[in-house]
């Protein structure tokens, strides 16, 4: 047996793509109605389609590799995180030397080194930091995230692009499909979201119940488990001892303090099971993760992305769950849309008087029982009507606050506006994007000033 010492050249280009080209160049009976097989299909898709991968972690690394090897040539990846040692057991694009660097940047570079002809643009920032317009360039968005809030945000952005015609039918050109994956230990899910036809993330938000928190009185009065002792140190004792000092879960000294306080409390009450590792797990809400489940779920997502874009086969309809704890169980559920969904529906209808000003409109959003949105910024067809931040934009748009909406929307009887602000989601106030339909009372539908269709 030999050991590896020097690297051999990568496979030649035609050889690498021969297998995929068979699938894309041949007609079939179990394909999408729009499938147009040809020997050049891979090249066409590769050059025309831009894909956004959200997250460059356990799923993101796999997704970038799988998508690049599925013929996609123009990829973007966005992730605000830097590489940590504990990522290395599954995020295979990263090495020990990369610890501390941007996940998006390293991941993009590694895949480009290995797969020639692929261009990956990394974005080392928060998803909310990007202008909404940034997301409009992509044909498909693939999500490899571990947070409900981030999924919810991207979902609202993608659904926000969706426009409905006068019969409330989705306009195909405005569709931005998503493929979403998620894992926890030996379990995972992969789903396809086609806004307007499948349920969106928000339609089935109940699939992701909020995390159960311990009652504070249990922590303070009747602790019983190691987790109770840890959360006492974390949520109560820290603030008592360090008033005003922000707790940082990534600071080893802070974590050590929580651990020793938790241990003291556990000893006091005769409770066992407090370890440093368990303390980290509870405080950071660590979700166990392994390479194989991430590989499986990402592969399912990448395959669905390839099928959605090329039409070379059917697509999953619409929610796959994987469970490898006892055997290998795959289940596909067809969920249905929530027809009253605030996010993927035609938009909540807000009726205004022609005299209502923008500032009155913003106030209405705060009080609207379905929206309860505070600090709203308002845009219409890409134009900022009012922006809460940054300061420059706030100053620029402030004069609009006193102007009637009817005037700002150029005398249209009905219009679609996008608002972003803080809204209640799963019991938490989070940054949210909502699409609203504004209608003006007493104005006829065809009274638009620049009526092109009237005569």
């Amino acid at each position: 047996m030999a050991s590896p010492d020097e690297e051999s050249p990568a496979p030649t280009e035609p050889e690498r793509w021969r297998d995929l080209d068979m699938l894309l160049s041949r007609p079939g009976n179990l394909v999408d109605a729009n499938f147009d097989p040809s020997p050049g299909l891979r090249d066409t898709l590769g050059s025309l389609v831009e894909v956004l991968v959200v997250g460059a972690g356990g799923l993101g690394c796999e997704l970038l590799k799988d998508l690049a090897l599925s013929g996609f040539k123009n990829l973007h990846v966005i992730d605000m995180d830097t590489i940590d040692v504990s990522n290395l057991n599954r995020q295979f694009l990263f090495r020990v030397q990369d610890v501390g660097k941007s996940k998006a940047e390293v991941a993009a570079e590694r895949v480009m080194e290995r797969v020639s002809g692929v261009n990956i643009v990394p974005h080392f920032c928060r998803i909310e930091d990007k202008e909404i317009d940034f997301y409009s360039q992509f044909s498909i968005i693939v999500l490899g995230l571990d947070s409900i809030e981030a999924r919810s945000y991207i979902n609202s952005v993608a659904c926000g692009f969706l426009e409905y015609d006068s019969d409330d039918k989705p306009i195909p050109e405005t569709l931005k499909p998503m493929v979403d994956g998620g894992t926890e230990g030996f379990k995972g899910h992969a789903r396809v979201i086609v806004p307007g036809s499948t349920p969106c993330f928000e339609c089935n938000i109940w699939l992701f119940p909020p995390q159960v928190k311990f009652p504070l009185c249990t922590l303070a009065e009747t602790p019983r488990t190691a987790a109770h002792c840890i959360e006492y140190a974390h949520l109560i004792k820290w603030n008592e001892v360090h008033p005003g000092k922000h707790f940082d879960a990534d600071d080893a000294e802070h974590m050590q303090w929580i651990y020793s306080e938790a241990l003291k409390r556990a000893e006091l009450f005769g409770i066992s099971g407090v370890t440093y590792s368990f303390t980290q797990g509870v405080v950071k809400n660590i979700i166990p993760a392994i390479a194989s489940t991430n590989a499986i779920v990402s592969a399912a997502c990448a395959l669905e992305a390839l099928k959605l874009i090329s039409g070379c086969s059917k697509t999953v309809s619409n929610y796959l769950t994987y469970n490898g704890l006892d055997g290998t169980h795959i289940n596909v559920s067809e969920f249905v849309r929530d027809k009253d969904c605030l996010v993927c529906g035609p938009g909540t209808l807000i009726e205004l008087d022609t005299s209502s000003t923008l500032s009155e409109f913003i106030k209405m959003l705060e009080e609207h029982p379905k929206l309860l949105m505070s600090r709203a910024s308002v845009t219409h067809e890409g134009e900022n009507l009012y922006m809460q931040s940054p300061e420059v934009l706030e100053q620029m748009t402030r004069p609009n606050l006193g102007v009637p909406m009817f005037e700002l929307l150029k005398g249209a009887a009905r219009a679609t506006v996008h608002v972003t602000g803080m809204a209640e989601n799963n019991g938490k106030k989070v940054s949210s994007l909502r699409k609203l339909r504004v209608a003006f009372k007493g104005v006829e539908k065809n009274s638009k000033m620049d009526t092109t269709e009237s005569f």
């Binding site: 047996m1 030999a2 057991n89 599954r90 590989a295 490898g324």
Partner: protein
């Protein structure tokens, strides 16, 4: 700066996210495992990537693709992922190795065979069975593929099921638990104490009260269970007492059927419990368990010894914990006694099975699993016909059964034509009837004359042309690696049959043939 600090990654930190799943013991088993991969195409490489990242002991890549020495380059890519793994390669055709050097395989823990034709797989399976090596076979083919496990027997103590009823013995409390419950005043007038009496105590006390009023019987009919809940509610001081709400929700636990489950009964009645000096530790313990149950008045298994969190004063909860732990320890000691007796009887050192192992066995006694796999030869020669027929007519399994037959048929055709159907665009039309003929012969050998195959899938198989599509390979390789992890760590439960991937609508299934 951060990079310099982490130039050497502590295994504890590096593997943190997986240690939370399989613990130090699972990790140690992985680090001891020697894995052999046959054929390092996309499917095999993907499987190995996941295992190398997880830190298996060693990997050996066997591949005969000489063009640019695929074995060597894949090996070096894998090595780059984790320097704690010993990565080696053998530049030889797996088919030739199977034919000429069967002893080669006996050095490994697991052999992962990817993209092997039926004939070689059959031969490899008999080699691995002979040497008692676990075989995992994986195949990607267009938008389908399969993963299968072959080993005579795989036993699991830590099956770690997702949802499992806790072991509280409320239907059959032992003396110490009854005494503790009796010593607690469940009608304490202090409202704070009253709402912090753990539901275990409430249920033990009220079940006794119920039994006293019902000739010693516990609630069993729907009506009785309802009345028992009402009895619990009568003891509430306020409607918002969480402990009483928990007692109502858990009231069914007093009505649990005593004794052992059918699954465990089957294991205990297995002929392997007639142990000899060559029996595995697992079966020695099951034999001891059998004696333990026979000696127990109520025929119960050893107590697990843990309780879930519940509304309670700290002192009540900690006392209860101790009572459960003490009972579990005494059960464990009793079992250990049987183990030693048996070991002596079969001429083995009575101390040759560690206490830690016996303890883990006791803790998981309700969750033991025995997985046995038919050999590939048995499956091919005498498939479970009733299962096959059921799969063919079941809407959910029909596609998977078709794929199974077609995956075997493509190998037949390849054996005759030296290529897979549909490799050449120009011959696809002729290959469709050829593949159909091959599939019909596979089916008639299985004893299926009359079941009809989906024409669409036959055409689809020819369209695939044996392609190894990357995301499919990543999926199949992912499943294969996950099964290897379960087999090596002896935790969780491996696939019971053949996993058939369906990349068309993703409705993949497991067939047991």
């Amino acid at each position: 700066m951060a990079a310099a600090a982490a130039a050497f990654a502590e295994p504890k930190t590096k593997y943190d996210r997986q240690l939370r799943i399989w613990g130090d013991q699972g990790q140690a088993a992985l680090e001891k495992a020697d894995i052999c991969l046959l054929t390092c195409g996309p499917t095999g490489t993907e499987a190995m990537k996941n295992l190398v990242l997880g830190g298996v002991g060693s990997v050996t890549i066997v591949d005969g693709c000489l063009g640019q020495s695929r074995a060597k380059s894949v090996c070096s890519f894998l090595q780059e992922l984790n320097d704690a793994v010993n990565a080696k390669f053998v530049e030889e055709s797996p088919l030739a190795l199977i034919d000429t050097n069967p002893p080669f395989f006996s050095q490994f823990t697991v052999v992962i065979a990817t993209q092997l034709p039926e004939r070689s797989l059959l031969k490899l399976d008999s080699i691995c069975r002979e040497a008692n090596i676990v075989l995992v076979a994986a195949r990607s083919y267009g938008l389908t593929g399969l993963v299968r496990i072959s080993v005579k027997e795989h036993t699991v103590i830590e099956s770690k099921p997702d949802h499992f009823l806790d072991d509280l013995r409320l239907h059959n409390p032992w003396t110490e638990l009854k005494q503790f419950a009796k010593s607690t005043d469940i009608s304490d007038k202090d409202p704070v104490v009253h709402k912090h009496i753990p539901y275990i105590i409430i249920l033990v006390r009220l079940a006794e009260k119920w039994a006293d009023a019902h000739d010693g019987h516990l609630p069993s009919t729907r009506q009785e269970k309802k009345e028992f809940k009402d009895l619990i509610r009568e003891h509430m001081l306020n409607l918002d007492e969480e402990n009483y709400k928990e007692a109502v929700e858990s009231s069914y636990k007093v009505s649990v059927t005593p004794g052992i489950s059918d699954d465990i009964r089957q294991i205990i009645d297995d002929s392997s419990t007639e142990v000899s000096s060559s029996s595995s530790d697992f079966w020695v313990l099951v034999a001891a368990l059998k004696e333990f149950i026979a000696n127990e008045v109520n025929g119960e298994l050893p107590l697990e010894g843990t309780i879930p969190d519940m509304t309670s004063l700290t002192e009540y909860y900690v006392s209860l914990q101790k009572i459960y732990q003490a009972k579990a320890e005494s059960d464990c000691l009793a079992l250990e006694h049987h183990v030693k007796k048996i070991l002596k009887r079969i001429d083995r050192d009575p101390d040759s099975i560690s206490r830690a192992y016996i303890k883990a066995f006791c803790k998981n006694a309700r969750k033991l699993r025995v997985c046995r796999y038919r050999s590939i030869e048995e499956e091919f020669g005498s498939p479970l016909l009733s299962e096959v027929q059921k799969y063919f007519t079941d809407e959910d399994y029909c596609f998977a059964m078709n794929f199974y037959v077609l995956l075997r048929a493509v190998d037949r055709l390849a054996a005759n034509y030296n290529r897979f159907p549909g490799i050449f665009d120009s011959e696809i039309d002729e290959d469709v009837p050829r593949l159909k003929t091959a599939a019909v012969s596979v089916m008639s050998e299985m004893g299926l004359n009359g079941a009809s195959l989906s024409e669409d899938l036959i055409t689809e198989m020819c369209r695939f042309g044996g392609a190894e599509i990357h995301p499919v390979a990543a999926f199949i390789g992912g499943v294969a690696s996950q099964e290897v992890i379960k087999l090596v760590t002896k935790q969780f439960v491996p696939l019971p049959g053949i996993f058939i991937f369906n990349g068309i609508d993703q409705k993949s299934q497991v067939l047991v043939l």
